[in-house]
Symmetry: C2
Subunit: 157 residues, 2 copies
C-alpha cells in the first residue's frame, strides 16, 4: 500500500474544524500530526502516548475529545473488535471501503476489500427497513501462524 497523502488529510481536518467554528489549538495540532503521521492502526491510549512525544502538554481528556471529531470528519475510521478498547484507522480517507479481519489469538489485523460484501450488506439492511449508518464485518479467526503454533494465545508473531 502506498504512503498516504498525510498533508491533505491534515488540511482537510483543519478546514473541518473551521467550518464548525472550533479552534485550532496547539494540542489539536499535535494530535492531528500524530494521527496522519502514521499509517498504523492505533488505540486512544497509544495516540495519547505518541502525541505526548510531540507535545508533552497533551492530556488524555483532549485525546478522547478529539477522536470523535476525527471520526465525524470521515478522515479516521473507528473500529471495535470486541476487545475493551477501540481501534482507529488513519488511512480511511484514502481507502474508504476496506474491511478488517482480526486474529483472536494474536490480534493481528488484515485489511481487505470486497464489493460483493458491501453490496450484500446494503441489500440486507434495506430489506429489513434499516438505513445503514456504518457496517463492519467482524471475523474473529486464527491466522496461519497461530494455527501452526497450535492455538497459543496472545503471543507475538
Amino acid at each position: 500500500m502506498p504512503t498516504p497523502d498525510r498533508t491533505a488529510a491534515k488540511e482537510k481536518f483543519m478546514a473541518f474544524l473551521e467550518e464548525k467554528n472550533l479552534r485550532i489549538t496547539s494540542q489539536r495540532r499535535a494530535i492531528v500530526e500524530t494521527v496522519f503521521g502514521t499509517d498504523q492502526h492505533f488505540t486512544a491510549e497509544q495516540l495519547l502516548e505518541w502525541a505526548r512525544e510531540r507535545d508533552a502538554s497533551v492530556s488524555r481528556a483532549t485525546v478522547y475529545r478529539t477522536l470523535p471529531l476525527l471520526t465525524e470528519s470521515g478522515l479516521v475510521h473507528e473500529m471495535d473488535f470486541g476487545k475493551d478498547y477501540k481501534i482507529y484507522d488513519p488511512n480511511y480517507a484514502d481507502h474508504p471501503n476496506h474491511n478488517h479481519i482480526i486474529c483472536d489469538d494474536c490480534d493481528k489485523i488484515v485489511e481487505f476489500e470486497s464489493d460483493k460484501l458491501d453490496a450484500l450488506e446494503t441489500e440486507i439492511s434495506s430489506k429489513l427497513g434499516f438505513s445503514v449508518k456504518s457496517q463492519q464485518l467482524r471475523i474473529n479467526a486464527s491466522c496461519e501462524e497461530m494455527k501452526k503454533l497450535g492455538a497459543c494465545k496472545n503471543k507475538d508473531h
Copy 2:
C-alpha cells in the same frame, strides 16, 4: 419464531459440565434455568438480576464465570455491538446461523439469516489464510421508527 426446547438445552449443558468434570451446583442450576427460561437477548447484569430472583445467593462472580461456559458449550451466543457490555442470545442452539442488525439510536436488535452472507464470509477468510472461529456482521443503522422520529437518540419504541 416458535418457543425453543428449553429442556433439551438445559440437559445438554449439564452433560457438558459433566464431560469437563465440572460440578452441578445450585447456583449454576439457577443461572441455567434463567438462561433457557427466556428467549430474549440479555446482558450479564440482567442475567444476574433475573437469576437472583430464583436464588438470591447467586453472585456476580458466578454469573461472569458461568457465561463463558455457556458460550463454550455452543448453546449460548455472545455478541458485541460496540457498546460497553456484551449481549447474549439463548436461542443459539435452535438457530445456529442467524445474524443481527442493531439500531444505533434505540438499541433494537433484529435477527436475520443469510446463506449468501455466511458463504461469502467463509470464502474471504480462507482466501486470507485465516480459519474462522466466529463471524459477526455488525450493521449499525437507524430503524424505520427512528427515521420517522428524526434521529432522536436512545428513546423507547
